[in-house]
């Protein structure tokens, strides 16, 4: 865990302690379990977003993809009687395909990621609404898929704590993502391309493939999150389902130390960022803060977090320059060379 993650953890603990002090029911098992369930769902697509942000891209269509794939998933298993295992595979495949299209448009055609995924945001939202003719897609009363429900929205009692399966899924995904990002060759490539695509290319990295792979991973994880969320709400109004979720994802990634310029960010940070956002949502309800202030509270805390981080970075930098890094000789020579 790096320093950035540690300070984020401290922030979470401070916020948590304050909330628990004002309303002790914050620490109530049921409440923690519910909050963790949210962390599970939001964390998965935040990790998805982090992959794209790390390579220096952005994915704005997360919310719309969650709506479209959620609608399709429910439609497949409820109205078309597709076996849920097959449906799950189909939805994940669709997510991967969406990612592949985005990645290809960004690398091969050279359209800016913001534009590609903004178009995606509009297209998938429209597609979802058209598909259901704006009606809500949902399980009827009493419709039941016991196995699927247990797997996606269920909870398992561990030492008396009802652990939501979504958070178990997040844990597994986060561990794999952590290993991939921080320990594997592919992870190195992701960071290298995000930091300096040109230098990565000169080191023999096929940067185009790396970028496409990041979007594909993002698409697949988002699809998985879409299924979990669909199974949680059990009903999807395509016009509003998942709207703004890309911003939750970007906020979590930024809180978690991702730079929108690319090349930075840690999985632990993204998960902690998600935890903070969900604790904030929880505290709005628990402390009886008017619901309308929800987003304002979130924005304020993110801003404070980022400001504090900037302050710490600058202080650290000042400390290092005071110590004096030996680089004077090189700088002098390069001035001489450029004075031709």
């Amino acid at each position: 865990m790096n320093k950035k993650d540690l300070s984020l953890l401290v922030l979470i603990l401070v916020v948590g302690a304050v909330v628990a002090f004002i309303n002790p029911r914050f620490l109530y098992v049921g409440n923690l379990s519910n909050t963790l369930n949210q962390v599970g769902m939001f964390g998965i697509f935040s990790i998805a977003e982090a992959f794209v942000i790390i390579i220096g891209g952005i994915e704005l269509s997360v919310g719309s993809v969650i709506a479209l794939l959620g609608v399709l998933f429910i439609d497949l298993i409820v109205n078309h009687d597709v076996n849920w295992v097959l449906a799950l595979a189909m939805i994940i495949a669709a997510g991967l395909a969406i990612g592949a299209v985005h990645g290809t448009l960004v690398t091969k055609i050279g359209i800016q990621p913001f534009v590609v995924t903004l178009c995606g945001l509009l297209i998938y939202r429209g597609a979802a609404r058209y598909y259901t003719e704006d009606a809500t897609a949902g399980f009827g009363f009493g419709a039941s898929f016991p196995m699927l429900e247990w797997l996606t929205a269920g909870r398992t009692n561990i030492l008396g704590f009802p652990l939501p399966h979504s958070v178990i899924a997040l844990f597994v995904i986060a561990v794999i993502a952590w290993v991939v990002l921080h320990r594997s060759v592919f992870g190195r490539y992701l960071y290298a391309v995000g930091k300096n695509e040109e230098a990565a290319r000169y080191s023999g990295i096929r940067s185009g493939r790396v970028v496409i792979a990041a979007y594909v991973i993002c698409g697949g994880l988002t699809a998985f999150a879409a299924i979990l969320i669909a199974m949680y709400t059990r009903s999807i109004s395509p016009a509003v389902h998942g709207s703004f979720y890309e911003l939750y994802a970007i906020a979590a990634a930024v809180l978690g130390g991702c730079s929108l310029r690319g090349g930075e960010g840690s999985i632990v940070g993204v998960v902690l960022g998600t935890v903070l956002l969900q604790v904030l949502q929880n505290l709005v309800n628990l402390l009886g803060i008017p619901s309308s202030l929800n987003f304002a509270v979130m924005g304020t805390v993110i801003l404070i977090g980022v400001l504090a981080d900037q302050y710490l970075v600058q202080r650290r930098r000042r400390a290092t320059t005071a110590k004096g890094v030996p680089q004077a000789s090189g700088a002098g020579a390069s001035v001489g060379a450029s004075a031709e």
């Binding site: 594997s184 290319r201 000169y202 080191s203 023999g204 002098g332 020579a333």
Partner: protein, 501 residues
């Protein structure tokens, strides 16, 4: 010729450890065309920056219309009628010609709305276009004009500021022959209007063609001034060199072997009608000299697979290979140490160890994961071997000096198995001590059987390090030199497109 309106007296400029200008005198009269020549690093650009007000001299004085001052600011230079046509043009290619010429000084109407008066704007630009004989209108979008036309726009910008002196820094380096001819005519037209021109160039026949006077700089001194009737390439080259090179040369342990890398009729997109052929032999350092813009970097990029080769073939150990990407080149054992170290060579805020392992991560695998212990160990070995001065291999590369950064780039490739190493300006921005260490490393590599192609604009380096020199001129090889033929004179002759006597 009238009295000089601009005089530089005893101008010096010191950078830490480098004397860029050493007591330079120069005067400019009305309607005079002065060519400023000298090798790379002689101080030509610094001198012009002093005139343009960009650089403040460390000593000496400037006399403008008889008024003495110790330095100029950019605004004062413009007011004094000195205009700069930069090597890299400062134009907006999203505006039209007129918009560029009057950028920041647009005629306006509409009071506080400050709307641009397009009619007046165009009316003001039109006479300038006529004066220079331009073949485009004031409303031509800049993006659609050629580089030569861009230069004309820059010159118009200068004239619109009532320039008395136009300084051009290597104006013809990227122009075609016809375009160069046109520029020469523009210079003549300026002269006829009483506007003075100073131009920096490496093309000596242009000097003969249009200069009234050539001033030769070497190591920050004015080493000579040639009048119109004395202008001849041989005389100029003699003045430009005139120094003894320190001998750095260490001969190879064994005579070079068979050729490893053969380039056969390679064509790059910069010079689509020129082809390059050369071979680099096992255990030899082939120096690739030439002027900036002669197509050397483009050739290196094409061999390394960064840019596609337009035509021609690359053979490695006699077998034709296809290099479609840097990955392919690396897989063949052809590595490039690029000129733009910070942009292309390194990840600046990543550690030394991770920079070194980047191109070869596959060999650090344990299961699917990077074996960081092995990575660190290898980086430490390379640090010892190349004497990289850093507290640890976990140090971020950005905090290292230029020389140590270059060693990290080199270490990347040395931990793999190089067959061919291409260096593009291996010691640019590198301090003297590290320079020598890098040269030693080059020799050790060739003695171990590596073939090295070294692009360099540093004459001392080319002559002192190479076993053989190829010289490029305008996208083609203008000649090869063996050690017995090595001399600055010969390299320069070939670099400006003349044959060696």
């Amino acid at each position: 010729m009238s009295e000089p309106f601009l005089e530089l007296v005893d101008i010096s400029k010191n950078y830490p450890g480098v004397v860029a200008l050493d007591h330079v005198d120069l005067s400019v009269s009305r309607g005079e065309v002065i060519a400023l020549i000298g090798e790379n690093g002689a101080g030509k650009s610094t001198l012009m920056r002093v005139l343009g007000g960009v650089v403040e001299p460390s000593g000496g004085l400037l006399r403008v219309d008889g008024v003495e001052r110790s330095s100029l600011t950019v605004a004062e230079a413009i007011k004094a009628g000195i205009a700069f046509v930069h090597q890299e043009l400062n134009l907006f290619d999203n505006l039209d010609v007129a918009g560029n010429v009057f950028i920041g000084r647009e005629p306006v109407y509409g009071g506080p709305l400050r709307l641009i008066d397009r009619k007046q704007l165009h009316a003001r630009v039109r006479p300038l276009l006529e004066r220079l004989g331009a073949d485009f209108g004031p409303d031509a979008p800049l993006a659609e004009l050629s580089l030569a036309q861009h230069q004309l726009v820059e010159i118009m910008k200068a004239l619109s500021l009532d320039a008395r002196l136009v300084i051009m820094d290597e104006p013809t380096s990227s122009l075609t022959l016809t375009e160069t001819d046109r520029l020469m005519r523009v210079i003549a037209a300026l002269k006829a209007d009483g506007v003075s021109v100073i131009f920096i160039t490496h093309r000596l026949n242009e000097v003969v063609q249009c200069a009234d006077r050539a001033v030769v700089l070497r190591d920050g001194h004015v080493v000579g001034s040639l009048r119109r009737d004395e202008l001849a390439p041989a005389a100029m080259i003699r003045l430009m060199i005139g120094r003894d090179l320190k001998s750095l040369y260490v001969p190879p342990a064994a005579p070079p072997g068979a050729s490893v890398l053969d380039i056969d009729g390679a064509v790059t997109s910069t010079y689509p009608d020129r082809a390059v052929s050369l071979s680099v032999r096992r255990g030899e350092i082939l120096g690739l000299a030439g002027l900036v813009g002669s197509g050397r970097t483009e050739l290196a990029r094409a061999i390394f697979g960064v840019d596609p080769l337009q035509a021609g073939a690359i053979r490695l150990d006699g077998e034709a290979i296809r290099v479609a990407s840097p990955r392919a080149a690396i897989d063949h054992g052809i590595y490039l140490i690029p000129e733009d170290r910070k942009g292309c060579g390194l990840l600046l805020d990543v550690s030394i160890a991770e920079n070194i392992s980047l191109p070869d991560l596959a060999s650090y695998l344990r299961f699917f994961l990077v074996n960081t212990a092995r990575e660190t160990a290898n980086a430490r070995t390379q640090r010892e071997r190349l004497k990289i001065r850093a507290p640890d291999v976990g140090t971020t590369v950005g905090s290292l000096s230029g020389g140590n950064q270059q060693k990290v780039v080199l270490a990347k490739w040395l931990s793999m198995r190089p067959k061919v190493l291409i260096f593009d300006e291996p010691t640019r921005g590198v301090d003297v001590g590290a320079k020598q260490e890098i040269y030693d490393m080059l020799r050790r590599l060739t003695d171990a059987g590596v073939a090295i192609l070294m692009i360099s604009s540093d004459m001392e380096e080319v002559i002192g390090v190479s076993d053989r020199i190829a010289v490029m001129h305008e996208g083609a090889i203008s000649g090869f030199l063996d050690r017995s033929q090595f001399s600055e004179h010969n390299v320069l002759q070939l670099a400006v497109g003349h044959a060696v006597e």
